[in-house]
Amino acid sequence: MILSDREIEAALEHGFIKIHPVPDRALWTSTAIDLTLDATLLKWTPKPAKTGARQQIRPNGPGEFNIKDLMDDPSWATKIQIDPRNGYELETNAFILGYTKEIVYLPNRSRLAARVEGKSSLARLGIGVHVTAPTIHAGFGFKEGLPEKKLGSPIQLEIFNISGLPVVLDVGMPICQLILEEVRELPNKGYKGQFSDQTVFAPPPKPGSKSRQRPK
């Protein structure tokens, strides 16, 4: 069952969910809350391997694969700050990773999960905000050892443009909507996936540290 705006308000008030900062009232709808775009974006920018070999990503290959390592590795990804005055022009067929300004925490005990969905106004311009992975699982934002008041993570967005038009993204623009849903029974475990703590990027790896590049 999808929560209405009144139920979301009550859930926030009673600590069943945490969204910080709580979006302005004008960003609520009857069954969702719009979340806004953070200034930090990440663009995949693989550089040719020194050997000249083509680099590939092989998520299910031998050895350990962790996309966070790639995101933190400047030889694979470039961090971009959106210009507060001019925004960031997302070219057609471009793909970037972004974050919500708001942090979200869905305590396991609350039996609430969520979905992050695009906005129809942006969809008409060919802008999508997720690539088939919209579910925010119960327990999202939990981190072992942190006190309750410090829990919560921004939601990572996979933003793309398929319109054929250059579209400018601005910091703080409504970028997606969060739809909250009841989970029928208490989950056995809180969400502890690799993205349960989606804090903005870690520092680049030190020289000589293990990389996840897979030259062919």
Binding site: D5, R25, A26, L27, W28, T29, S30, D34, K119, S120, S121, L122, R124, M173, P174
Partner: protein, 95 residues
């Protein structure tokens, strides 16, 4: 004191939509910024040369004589809700 009854409809300007049965409407918020969207014709009422879009009323702010309204669906800018002054509403006829 005169009692005024407001209907859940706010003043808008209209233009032709993309298809038959549709209107492009433009609704100003309390600052004058306009929100544009396309709606079915049956969501717009006309009276005395003015046009009014049916909306949902979310919150009333009597102190500042304004209301938070919800549009029938998302505007082109991404806005769903906006503050409008009470004076934007269509007034009901006296009973």
């Amino acid at each position: 004191m005169t009692e005024i009854t407001y209907l859940p409809e706010v003043e808008c300007s209209i233009a032709a939509g993309f298809r038959e049965g549709e209107l492009a409407v433009s609704v100003p918020d309390e600052t004058g910024k306009r929100q544009n969207l396309r709606v079915n014709k049956n969501l717009v009422a006309s009276e005395g040369g003015k046009h009014y879009l049916a909306v949902g009323i979310v919150q009333l702010d009597y102190k500042h004589k304004r209301a938070l309204i919800e549009l029938p669906h998302e505007a082109d800018s991404g806005a769903n809700r906006l503050w409008v002054p009470f004076s934007s509403f269509r007034q009901g006829s006296e009973s």
